[in-house]
């Protein structure tokens, strides 16, 4: 019996294939044996985690006043609630909700921004923003702003007016052809030069500008994919109903297209979360920046492995968790497209 089954397997796969499998298993086991015990040993005994424990506040809030920590918490809750609501509406296929949902999201992001910064006497200057807080602010604001911009670019790319189309294509392809680091550098270098001195934007805003510009080009391509996926019959039907172009796009086309690209947008957001680590080049101190900064404290000199590893775990939990949540939504929503970490820089 056993031999018969073994024989069947050998016949189906070939003896070499089986031998290769066995060899691979042994190799894999060896790899685990070589890497895991020393790693654990290092994690437990060699590593000195005081650089993390002593600086936990910097990693999370940076210099944001602890008394005002309720503001980031509230902003986070608000944004998560808005996103949850939007996702639910999209899942429930409530028609004509596209534009409004988008406005909500944008509103939530901007309201969070205002809340974090404060008004009048409660202002927390942006040079105090950093750590995980800044990572989240940058990613959320950039994705929020790049959505409308990306939709505009995607529609522009499909426009029949050559100049509009060319401009959109040029903008999208140029941004996608450049490394993020050059775009961020440009944002920090050229933007303040172009603007009058009186409205010199803060470095945080320059970073948001660069990240938004960058993300919008990728969102535009996602949206274009969604627009292409809307059947021609939908256009015909909308026209038959006598809808004008604006109404047609607002009521019929965009809601469907956007619903289809939700997983892709989540992927963009995850990618942005990781990409924010590059704002270090502008002198900002987000999560990765804190890891790089705290190793300069006299008592923690040279403890960069611990600091970096901690930051890596935080990124992993955030991005991995988000992509898992998004995937489970997808499965529920029978969407075939995958919204996992989209990669680019």
């Amino acid at each position: 019996m056993m031999t018969a089954r073994a024989y069947a397997i050998v016949r189906r796969h070939g003896a070499w294939w089986l031998a290769a499998q066995a060899a691979l298993t042994i190799l894999a086991a060896l790899l685990v044996w070589w890497t895991v015990p020393p790693l654990l040993r290092w994690l437990w005994w060699t590593a000195d985690w005081s650089v993390v424990t002593a600086n936990l506040r910097l990693f999370i809030l940076f210099r944001y006043p602890t008394e005002a920590a309720w503001r980031p918490a509230l902003a986070l809750a608000m944004t998560v609630a808005a996103v949850g609501l939007a996702v639910r509406r999209a899942a429930a296929r409530q028609s004509a909700s596209g534009a409004r949902t988008l406005l909500w999201l944008l509103g939530a992001v901007l309201a969070s921004f205002v809340l974090l910064r404060g008004v009048g006497s409660s202002v927390v200057p942006m040079n105090l923003w950093g750590g995980l807080l800044l990572t989240l602010i940058l990613a959320a604001t950039a994705i929020g702003l790049s959505l409308p911009l990306g939709i505009v670019l995607a529609l522009g790319r499909r426009s029949a007016l050559p100049l509009v189309r060319w401009t959109s294509v040029a903008a999208i392809e140029c941004v996608r052809g450049l490394p993020l680091i050059t775009i961020l550098f440009m944002a920090s270098l050229v933007v303040p030069l172009a603007l009058p001195d009186a409205w010199r934007p803060d470095t945080v805003l320059r970073a948001i500008f660069g990240l938004t510009l960058f993300s919008a080009a990728y969102v535009a391509e996602d949206v274009r994919g969604g627009l292409n996926a809307v059947g021609a019959g939908q256009y015909d039907a909308a026209r038959a109903l006598g809808l004008g172009s604006v109404a047609m796009h607002r009521l019929v086309i965009l809601p469907q297209a956007l619903r289809a690209v939700v997983p892709a947008i989540v992927g963009q957001f995850i990618a942005l979360l990781k990409d924010t680590s590059l704002v270090l080049i502008l002198g900002l101190t987000e999560l990765f920046g804190v890891a790089r900064s705290v190793v300069n404290q006299p008592e923690h000199l040279g403890r960069f492995r611990e600091a970096l590893l901690f930051a890596a775990v935080v990124y992993f939990v955030l991005c991995g968790g988000l992509s898992r949540v998004s995937r489970s939504f997808e499965m529920r929503g029978r969407e075939s497209r995958r919204g996992r970490a989209v990669e680019r820089t």
């Binding site: 189906r12 007016l161 450049l178 993020l180 990124y315 970490a341």
Partner: protein
């Protein structure tokens, strides 16, 4: 015939023209505004607009790449940076492709241990920032032994005392592969003096580094390794979803005609999957090339890194950034166009 007199703004063509005019005006104004700002800033800092500074003597050194001396010009420095970018990108793309396919096959191999490891690896690398990974890889390379105690694979011989004898009598080693904190050195074919043919050149440990052989600096190794394993994780997912996109019936049909699993994969599934794989694979290649700009965080002298040094020395950040952007755009758009042409052809042939 009662001609309907329409308001000019109702006329589609006029409106189209006006709209386009508005866009053109907007774009031109934006460009003009930026240019004016940049020029004003340069004037304020006594900088001469233009690219003449590229001919000036650089004064700094570059750790690797085509020969470069501090007496060479800034322009030459940028060329060396570009060569370094292309070197890591091309080698990286080849290795990442091989690695990505291997990981994808491991994932769908049905081998539980291997599949699980592949999955864990993909998840871990895709969900952490590349720049963090690069810095960690570089720091891991510091765990290698110092040069004098280099790990030698395929050792050919150990001599006593380095050239000059001032090295404190440290023994030299000659081997096919040498590994230490100074990087790796492998035997390589080189045109030796006087000989008209390529001779195999074995590396030897010297006083400050390796003599002979092909030397890989730790920065290059960390960047290459980081780019390959990071992009490989994405390529693996691209390949896997490409393979999964091929209908299961094809595999069953292949088995029915008596092909073995490996043959079925190689002859039936992969060729069909390639049609799905190529466009996102192209994107991953471009990503790898663009991601090589993170070299600045680990000290590999790529184009962006060198451009920052040039900018710091000359103050000509805008001009230098313009050059860097133009180069990246050329690479990206050129590759995109070539790959688009390829996939268009593949589509026609495939049908």
């Amino acid at each position: 015939m009662n001609a309907v007199v329409r308001h000019p703004l109702r006329n589609e063509r006029i409106r189209a023209a006006l709209a386009q005019l508005a866009v053109a005006a907007f774009v031109l104004a934006l460009v003009g505004w930026l240019a004016a700002g940049v020029l004003a800033d340069m004037r304020a800092r006594n900088l001469v607009p233009g690219f003449d500074f590229l001919r000036n003597v650089a004064g700094f050194g570059i750790s690797e790449g085509p020969a470069f001396a501090p007496t060479d010009s800034y322009g030459r420095a940028l060329v060396v940076g570009l060569a370094n970018t292309l070197r890591v990108a091309v080698v990286g793309i080849v290795l990442a492709t091989a690695w990505g396919f291997a990981v994808a096959l491991a994932r769908i191999s049905g081998n539980v241990l291997l599949g699980g490891m592949a999955r864990g690896y993909i998840e871990a690398l895709r969900n952490t920032p590349l720049v963090l990974q690069l810095v960690l890889w570089l720091s891991l390379l510091r765990a290698l032994p110092p040069l004098s105690e280099a790990i030698a694979l395929g050792s050919v011989g150990a001599g006593a005392g380095a050239a000059g004898g001032a090295a404190g009598g440290a023994a030299t080693q000659t081997a096919w592969l040498l590994l230490s904190r100074k990087g790796a050195a492998v035997a390589w074919w080189q045109l030796t003096d006087g000989a008209p043919f390529l001779a195999l050149d074995l590396p030897t440990t010297g006083r400050f580094g390796y003599d002979g052989g092909l030397v890989l600096s730790p920065e290059f190794a960390a960047l290459l390794f980081g780019l390959v394993v990071y992009t490989g994780a994405f390529i693996a997912e691209v390949v896997r979803s490409g393979i999964e996109a091929v209908s299961h019936g094809q595999l069953e049909a292949a088995r029915a005609v008596g092909l073995r699993e490996g043959q079925a994969l190689r002859l039936i599934v992969l060729p069909q999957a390639m049609r799905v794989i190529v466009p996102p694979l192209t994107n991953q290649y471009l990503n790898l090339a663009k991601n090589s700009s993170l070299a600045i965080f680990i000290g590999y002298p790529d184009l962006f890194n060198v451009s920052q040094t040039v900018g710091n020395q000359t103050g000509q950040f805008v001009a230098v950034l313009g050059i860097v952007m133009a180069v990246y755009l050329t690479i990206s758009l050129g590759t995109s166009l070539a790959m688009n042409a390829y996939s268009r052809r593949a589509r026609w042939v495939g049908r």
